[in-house]
C-alpha cells in the first residue's frame, strides 16, 4: 500500500499540522500546493518522530514551483519528467513496490479574473501534457492529483479533450472514447461521490461564500483522478477528505475549513494498493 496526501495549505506556516496528519496516516507521498514553508522547516517537522530508515526527503520539482512533493519512498523511486512539466503542474515517474505509476500533480490557476474558458484551457493543456507523457513512458497507469480550481462537473475536467474525468467506474473501464474521429482516454473521478451531505466527510474540499447569483458555496477543487489501468489498485473507501488533525478539527465551529488554523482547503488522503 502507498499512502498519498494532497493539501493546498494556503501559504500558511502549518508544518506541525501537516507533519501530524502525515504521521497519523503514515503518508508515503506528501504533495503540497501553495507551500511557503521552508524545506528545512518542513523536513524537520516531518522527520522529527520518524525512524532513520523511513525519513521524508524532498523530491526535485524542476520547473514546477507551485507543487512541492516530499516522500518516504526510496530516493530513486521518483523521477521528474521535465519535458512534460510546467509551472502549474509536474509529471513524475513513480516506482512503487509493485508497479511504476505516472503521477501528475497540479495546482491550476485561481486568478480571480480567469473565466470558465480560461479554466477549460488550463485543463486541456494539462490533459494534453499527461497524454504526451503517457506516450513517452509507455503506459497509462496514471494518477492525477491536485487543486484544479475547477469542480468535477466543469468543462475542463469533463470534456474529452480536457481531463475527461467521469463519475462512474463502469464508464471509465471502457478505457477510451472516440469523439470526432479522435480517441481520448478516460479518467475515473471518484470525487463525484463526495459531494453534498449524504456522503462521508464534508460537502466539498473548499468553501467559498460568494455573493453572486450563482453560488455553490462548497467546491471540490481538490481532486484525485485515476486512469482505468489503475482502478483495480484503488478502492473508493480509501479516499478521504480529512477534517481532523489528530484531536484538532480542521473545521470552524460552523463546519467550514478553518483558514486561520490550517487552510481554506481540506486535505485529501488516498491510497493505492501497489
Amino acid at each position: 500500500m502507498t499512502n498519498f496526501l494532497f493539501w493546498n495549505i494556503k501559504r500558511n506556516r502549518i508544518e506541525d499540522i501537516v507533519a501530524s496528519v502525515a504521521s497519523q496516516h503514515e503518508v508515503d507521498v506528501l504533495i503540497l500546493a501553495e507551500s511557503k514553508i521552508s524545506v528545512g522547516v518542513m523536513l524537520t517537522a516531518l522527520n522529527s518522530e520518524l525512524e532513520s530508515e523511513h525519513l521524508f526527503h524532498l523530491t526535485n520539482g524542476g520547473r514546477c514551483k507551485r507543487i512541492t512533493i516530499y516522500t518516504r519512498l526510496p530516493r530513486n523511486s521518483i523521477e521528474s519528467l521535465e519535458d512534460y512539466s510546467a509551472d502549474k503542474y509536474t509529471l513524475r515517474k513513480l516506482k512503487l513496490p509493485r508497479a511504476e505509476v505516472l503521477l501528475a500533480a497540479a495546482h491550476l490557476s485561481s486568478k480571480p479574473r480567469y473565466t470558465e474558458t480560461d479554466k477549460d484551457s488550463e485543463c486541456r493543456i494539462l490533459g494534453t501534457a499527461i497524454r504526451e507523457a503517457e506516450e513517452a513512458v509507455g503506459h497509462t497507469r496514471t494518477l492525477l492529483v491536485g487543486d484544479l480550481n475547477a469542480n468535477p462537473f466543469e468543462d475542463g475536467v469533463v470534456k474529452a479533450d480536457g481531463l475527461h474525468g467521469v463519475m462512474s467506474r463502469a464508464v471509465a473501464s471502457r478505457g477510451r472514447r472516440r469523439v470526432a474521429s479522435r480517441s481520448y482516454p478516460f479518467f475515473y473521478n471518484p470525487m463525484w461521490g463526495r459531494f453534498g451531505e449524504s456522503t462521508e466527510g464534508p460537502a466539498g474540499t473548499y468553501y467559498y461564500p460568494g455573493s453572486t447569483y450563482k453560488e455553490f458555496f462548497w467546491h471540490m477543487t481538490d481532486q484525485v483522478l485515476i486512469r482505468p489501468d489503475l482502478m483495480a489498485s484503488f478502492q473508493n473507501e480509501d479516499l478521504k477528505v480529512l477534517t481532523v488533525d489528530g484531536d484538532r478539527s480542521l473545521l470552524t465551529r460552523k463546519g467550514f475549513p478553518d483558514a486561520r488554523l490550517a487552510s481554506d482547503h481540506l486535505p485529501v488522503l488516498f491510497r493505492l494498493d501497489l
Binding site: S38, T44, S48
Partner: protein, 153 residues
Amino acid sequence: MASKVENLWPMDIRATSKQLSPVAILKRQASLLGERTKNLVEAEVETKAADHQKKLQHWFYLVAPALDFYKYPLFRVEHAPTQFYPLNIQFNVAAETSSEGNRTRKFEGLTARKQGSMLRVRSEAEFTAHLKTIFAADETKKVIQSLIDQSVG
C-alpha cells in the same frame, strides 16, 4: 531462416558483483548521511570517465535539497577503470572548482602519503579509514552545518 548465433562468452561471466568497489562504498556512505541530518543535507556520487577514458572519477557531493538542490563537491576518488586500488582521493575539489575557493583549506588528521592535496590509497581498509577521517574533519562538518543553517533559515 536465420540460425541462432552461438554465444562465445564463457558461462562464468555473470552480472554479479564479486568485490565491493570504491564507488559502492561511496554510494553506501552517501545514502547514510541523510539519516544523520534528517535529509536536510544529503550526499550523492557521480561517476565520470576522465583523462581520455584512462580513469574513472567518482565525485562525492553534499546536496542541500532546500537550497535548490545545491551540490557541494566534497572530494573525488580516481582509479584505473579496471583496477580499484591503488586509488587517489582529491579532497579540495570545492576550492579547485570555485574561483573564489580557499586553496589552503586542509582536512585535519589525514595521514596518508600526500601528493599535494591528493591522497594515494592502496587497499579497501585504507580507503574506509580515510573516508572516516574526511567525514569527521572540521572542514566537512563546517560545510554540512552551513548547509543545514541555510536550509532551516
